[in-house]
Symmetry: C2
Subunit: 224 residues, 2 copies
């Protein structure tokens, strides 16, 4: 029956993304169906495919939003004192991450459940959002390891990220044989303490080249 309502293209896309997010948050990514989404938004199946190439495309865009929420959540949980010790900041980040995985369980799972079968074009900024999450961890790590040590810092950030992910993900499906459910926080905190202690020992005993040769050409930061 032609134009069903007065949604602009941008509004329609936002409406569909909002509704899709709500469905995933409520019932998990498996419950997100083109027909269900259409019904709940008052449009038809075809319209979903006018806006998104396929369901994977839709899910990836929901995930991009989730990453933004996660980043915001983690940033907000940082200690307000800018000179808080790095260990405290990392503990705050880890605790906030654990809280996010339990509070937004299904949305968080959607980030990792979906294996890219066909080539799903990641929305612009998706990779940058992941880098931004790593940056939250790397800042305190720089204080712990000192300047330089790029390689060690990069490895540590990945190990911490992966350890957190593994602990949260395995505990969700009881694969850690945890005694009490709330001991996840304890486990995460202890993992963090143990790992950081090891980092300090290893940084002291096997130092990387502490300050690499200063960049020769140009004066711009080579970060990007």
């Amino acid at each position: 029956m032609g134009r069903r309502s007065d949604h602009s293209p941008a509004e329609l896309k936002g409406l569909l993304l909002d509704r899709a997010t709500a469905i995933i948050a409520a019932d998990g990514v498996a419950a997100l169906t083109a027909r269900r989404l259409a019904t709940q938004t008052g449009y038809s199946v075809g319209t979903v495919y006018n806006v998104f190439a396929h369901l994977d495309d839709l899910i990836v865009q929901v995930n991009a939003r989730t990453l933004a929420h996660l980043h915001h959540h983690l940033t907000a949980a940082q200690p307000r004192a800018p000179d808080a010790p790095p260990d405290a900041r990392l503990h705050a980040l880890a605790a906030a991450y654990v809280a996010f995985t339990t509070r937004s369980r299904h949305l968080w799972n959607a980030l990792f459940d979906h294996r890219p079968t066909r080539e799903v074009a990641l929305p612009p900024g998706y990779a940058a959002q992941i880098v931004a999450l790593f940056a939250l961890i790397e800042a305190p790590l720089t204080e712990i390891l000192g300047p330089g040590h790029e390689a060690a810092r990069a490895r540590a950030a990945r190990a911490l990220w992966a350890g957190l992910h593994g602990l949260c993900s395995l505990s969700q499906t009881d694969k850690l044989a945890l005694i009490s459910p709330d001991s996840l926080d304890v486990l995460v905190a202890s993992f963090l303490d143990d790992y950081l202690a090891g980092l300090r020992v290893r940084a002291a005993t096997a130092p990387d080249p502490p300050t690499p040769a200063p960049p020769r050409r140009g004066s711009k930061s080579p970060q990007f």
Copy 2:
């Protein structure tokens, strides 16, 4: 047309499990379909449901086999010298685990992809198999931490397991932004070294009750 072939019930179940394993190994768990499995085994859809309650039941039983294979693979990779240092044994375990996740990628993913929606009865021994995998990690940890320290050892085993899982799982979907694909081994080895160094430091500085009071009643081991 009645009995289609001369398979005993046990043979039929084995045949279906073998075929299902092959399908998952080749194309991932999403490719495992009741109709496809029926076609490839020469039976009808209904027969699949005579043997398994539902697809989740089938998948869980494939997973139980995968756990057994994983355990065998890890055991075989242990250094032959029984007095090999614990760090070397843990490194061998970790390297074997990484190799398993890449060589049996799809089967390994099936272990974690499936969230238990309804209550899927785990096959007998499933939990025991997970405990057996933990035991492989805990033995060397006991040497590192010394006797006692049950709580610390349990936490360390879970942290190591989760860290390994997280590193392998995130690297599969490029979520670690790894530079070169084979640097996963390097990352895992360095994670292990850092974490173990921290464990030693923390065990020395904040000792648990080193030897808990010996069990009072009975003489049986209280392990189970």
